[in-house]
Symmetry: D2
Subunit: 384 residues, 4 copies
């Protein structure tokens, strides 16, 4: 446990970024990383100031990611991993720049904006064997892992129905027209890709359902809306789901639902039981064995799976939240990186980490949803 | 207020019935009715015993509904109204028998099992002007009426998204194969009609959403399942909704969802606010004006609409439930009947009562859902 | 089951009464009673109008309870039982009038306003063996009975701590000065007796805790307040509890707690488990075996005690409420009365019904609380 | 923003400690500190290993706090502040060792185990003006600060009733007899001081109520229990409260309440409104203006006070928890320290931080509670 801290670089995440700060808090919480290099902004002045504020030495405060990748690759104390926290359209090129120089990547979701880019990255990763983590952070919650463990252990029996939803309210008005940075790029097809709410949060919902159930989504029948006048991407998406093996489901994501702050909710029903988890109350998992009273499972309580127990820091009743779940992704990634750096077979390190497969499936998901919508909600298969 | 009690008859509802007893408790609660006649069972012995247990005089304990309708129509103290609480397939004929003899009807939902029958009843009612009430009992909850009042008053703005669901768990196994009476007829196409979960509870969900929003459902894209081996009707249905005027939505009903007892839930989102109501916690309505904290509205509190205030018996904090909501339908029906008996224009009596229009729309809903499912979830219009 | 309906009389409960209407709805719900006689108001005109509205024949609409008791006692079709729903100060005399003429009584709580009167009634009942029921209606909730059954079955082990509270908000301002009838008598020592919130709701809390735990309260250390200027009785009371056998606890009742409508809540903790029940969500009981996840027990679910199952009308997920719990008291009372009328040993009829013992203990409770408060919260024993 | 990180030292918190790890995560989260020195354990070997695991240089891994204080005081790069996270009985001496050498202190609660020690520390602080922070971490929750802001702004009017409780279940059995380290010292009078549950969690409850209401507790009437056989300190405490100015209240703390993990809950009622906050759902504050619906205030939503907005990192709907609240104390302490280091008047830095005054009041609280209990729950004043 007296291993040195891993050296972390970051692309994106300068002043005004939301997710960059989240990645940094996540990286710090369990003390596995130190941030030593960055290309934090495409604006050189902002990049410099942001780096200074983050205690990055001036010579590792880069003006652009290409320079950073090239320069870091040549250092003896080069970064162990880079976090990519830019808008979606730039992920593919940035990941490629670092991976092609042998530097592992932690990339924000969704992976990228086209299947072609996704497949290209998958090919590169397959060839190099480099560690690659996609921050589907909700899988870092201990009770999400508990849910997965219970499904895999057969406690729900055969899965019949999956209900997943992710409603938000923050884009109920045309926030993008006020200059708000987060709203601006997320509603811009050029930077966000072809999916609006589908790409931003629908992908989380799709990935979470797959993570917990172990099921692969086969096809979708989708109906998209852009309710806010002038909006160019969907801000509400409703769809029917068919999973391989016969399970069925529904997915709803929305950015125009007043009263819903960040309402990711997953319910899974099998022939032996059901479960329910809400991101807003992440320390609780409701588990209902058929014919018995619902159990209120809580983070840190006795009797949970090893997967859940390993992802918790403090005792039951002391709420952990979004940042701790995000930190879990980073901490698991650290184990994966250390194993890779040591040249040892990774064993279980990273077994629960989302990666390129999740990325491929989610880009295919976005494409299928949009194709289905254009075909008047016709059933459309995900093509990986 | 010293009006006599209305004379109530009942068809169906003998020993072993669930909904018959509910109708009788509902009729008793506010003391507007006395049960004086019945054809309570198709089994004559059971009909007689059931009548005696309910203090019905022997000469008004009928062996069948035809005899009852004919006999009652000829009495000077004839029943003021008859409640029809038989399985779905018999509703149309029974309603016709009484209505054609000038006796008003309170009918359990769904109205009947074919559009032809539905239209025939509508024609008869249009011609005779007789009072007719369909017991979509969830509309009797005061906070459902509050929700409707707020939507109509514009507090949600233009409705964008409707999310309605009605999951149950009671048919997660093949209960119908154990001889359980409720399960047996509800899973039998001959008695239940073409819809399983769709007809039994999907219709409630559809009607409730329409009642609260005032919107008409235009078309559905539906995917149905019969998860339990051997089951002949759907036990889980998932569908996308398109409303006239541009609102969109989703509806889920299920009888195979462990952990869900009777989970009717409605959420409505407009451009100015959202609301949420759960039947399991019927004394609360969550109202979220855009950009403001969610308000917890409770039955009986000051500041609610007249529609909500009129549908409550006891102070806030003293929970009312399912039977009180059902009683409200009966009590509103009593006002309608008294107005009709008095020959006075009904005014507002019965303005909130579900009736033949709801019945027509729900039979069309069932037909459209099944047609859509057969067409691989193609968008299908409701044809009234 | 074809027994005739029991003939019910009522004293109090005319126009403007809250609890009178509740008693009548409770008596009607399960169809065990018909209201045939009443002395509904001390105002003769109001008594007459109220009786007519309730379909009571004019010759049984009495001007005062003395006349009613005397007259009914002489009839061959005399009432089987009388409900006493007047302000507290008159309970003793009215109960005495009917009991002394051999007529059973259902009396609203608290029993009366002095231990002398309480003991006198107890003596009369002991001598006559007449049925007597005190409407501590919260014991009619099925999950309260489930809680009791679990404690008695030892599922909580030895009880250590009892936490019971009953906060309301309705008297946070001087409502009694506005002419509101309910507020007026409840804040008037002459009609309410020496306890304000203590007598009105503290007695419910005390009785409920005793009903569920089976423990007798030994002594109290109490601190009372009259927060609203000009109020003559306590409107908030806080106290420490010591039970016989070593359990300890706390009781809080308040009528000045904004946000609390009728917040009766009971929590019981033993060395093997704990439970929690809230009147505002009466269809749920939280049961926490030590070291295991909390179970959400719901009314009507499989696996509950016979006591709970017998006190429910409709399936799980169809909420029952305050009126159904109140009705359960009436329905259990009907079983007790029928058994008594038949001259058969009552067996279990009425085993769960609150009666004179509860009344005695509650009057002693009020006296002890007030004595403790006057003695600066000194521990004070209940003297029965 | 480019200030250097503050240099942090720590006394206690080696392997096996719970709270030491919490302090370190709290210090890391907002990147204001780096841990550079420590006397982490009284066992030298454990101290050395723990320091190495935490990346502390060997020459600053001290064997005891005296050596550490003396050595650090003499360094030019000496620590800016020391965190004291040892059992309660050693706080006073350790704080004294550092403060007397001019080194500011962040001390875990409760301050110490006797009023004499508390006053001595207060005197030293008064004389030196050194920064001193007591980690009453629950005051770091943004909605606790919102609650305080609303009370101070008069939105609740005059406070009448305070209800605060802190039940846990973890000591329902004799865990201290199994060798569990946390249980062992917390139930040992020599290390924990005279209060068991009172000292460990009752102090949090007392402090929280004072923080939110701004009221000073005047006297208590307390009843303590040691329910678990062999336990030497109280494991359940119940008490009545009298605040200066006329507010009244109750406080319950327990370590033997099955089903309660860490159930800190505060309710405050004034003549204009009420509020409720639960630590288990820390992102929500329920606010009930008298006569209006309860508002669900959430962390990060628009319209909250500056105090709440400043204590939040990520958007509404992304739950923050215990560690974030604890981090807020550290981050506020950093502002206080930087201001002090700069020699500038501190202004508002640290205005919300708990300090020596809270420590004094809590030691007096423990003493008064125990004295009251010994006097059979007699009202006992807090003597500062």
């Amino acid at each position: 446990m007296t291993d040195r801290r891993l050296r972390l670089g970051m692309v994106g995440g300068g002043a005004g970024s939301f997710i960059g700060g989240v990645h940094r808090m996540a990286a710090r919480l369990d003390d596995q990383y130190e941030l030593v290099a960055g290309a934090l902004s495409s604006d050189p002045e902002r990049a410099r100031h942001s780096a200074a504020a983050l205690h990055i030495e001036p010579d590792r405060a880069y003006a652009d990611y290409e320079t950073m990748a090239a320069s870091e690759a040549g250092r003896s104390d080069r970064i162990d991993v880079v976090s990519v926290v830019t808008p979606n359209d730039s992920h593919a090129a940035i990941c490629h720049a670092f991976l092609s120089r042998g530097i592992p990547v932690i990339c924000d979701k969704p992976l990228c904006t086209s299947m072609q880019d996704a497949r290209s990255l998958a090919e590169l990763l397959g060839r190099t064997g480099l560690p690659f983590v996609l921050t589907h952070n909700y899988t870092g919650y201990p009770l999400v892992r508990e849910a997965r463990a219970r499904v895999l252990a057969g406690e729900l029996g055969t899965i019949r129905v999956v209900q997943v939803e992710y409603p938000q309210e923050w884009l109920a008005e045309a926030l993008e027209q006020t200059g708000q940075k987060q709203a601006a790029w997320r509603t811009d097809p050029a930077r966000s890709g072809p999916g609006g709410s589908v790409g931003d949060i629908g992908t989380h919902a799709h990935q979470l359902a797959g993570f917990v159930t172990g099921l692969r989504l086969e096809s979708v029948a989708a109906d998209l809306s852009s309710f806010v006048p002038g909006r160019r991407l969907d801000d509400d998406a409703r769809m029917l789901l068919r999973y391989e093996g016969g399970a069925r489901g529904m997915l709803w994501c929305s950015q125009v639902a007043p009263g819903c702050e960040n309402g990711l909710r997953l319910r899974v029903f099998g022939d032996k039981g059901g479960l329910e988890w809400l991101q807003a109350e992440p320390n609780v998992l409701h588990f209902s064995p058929l014919g018995q009273p619902t159990r209120r499972l809580t983070r840190g309580m006795p009797g949970l799976s090893e997967a859940a127990a390993n992802a918790t820091r403090i005792p039951a009743g002391h709420p952990e939240g979004y940042l701790e779940a995000f930190a879990q992704i980073y901490t698991d990634a650290a184990a994966l990186l250390r194993s890779w750096l040591a040249g040892t077979p990774s064993g279980d390190a990273g077994a629960l980490l989302p990666g390129i497969e999740d990325g491929l499936r989610n880009v295919a998901f976005i494409d299928a949803v949009i194709a289905s919508h254009k075909a008047d909600a016709a059933w459309t298969r995900l093509e990986i």
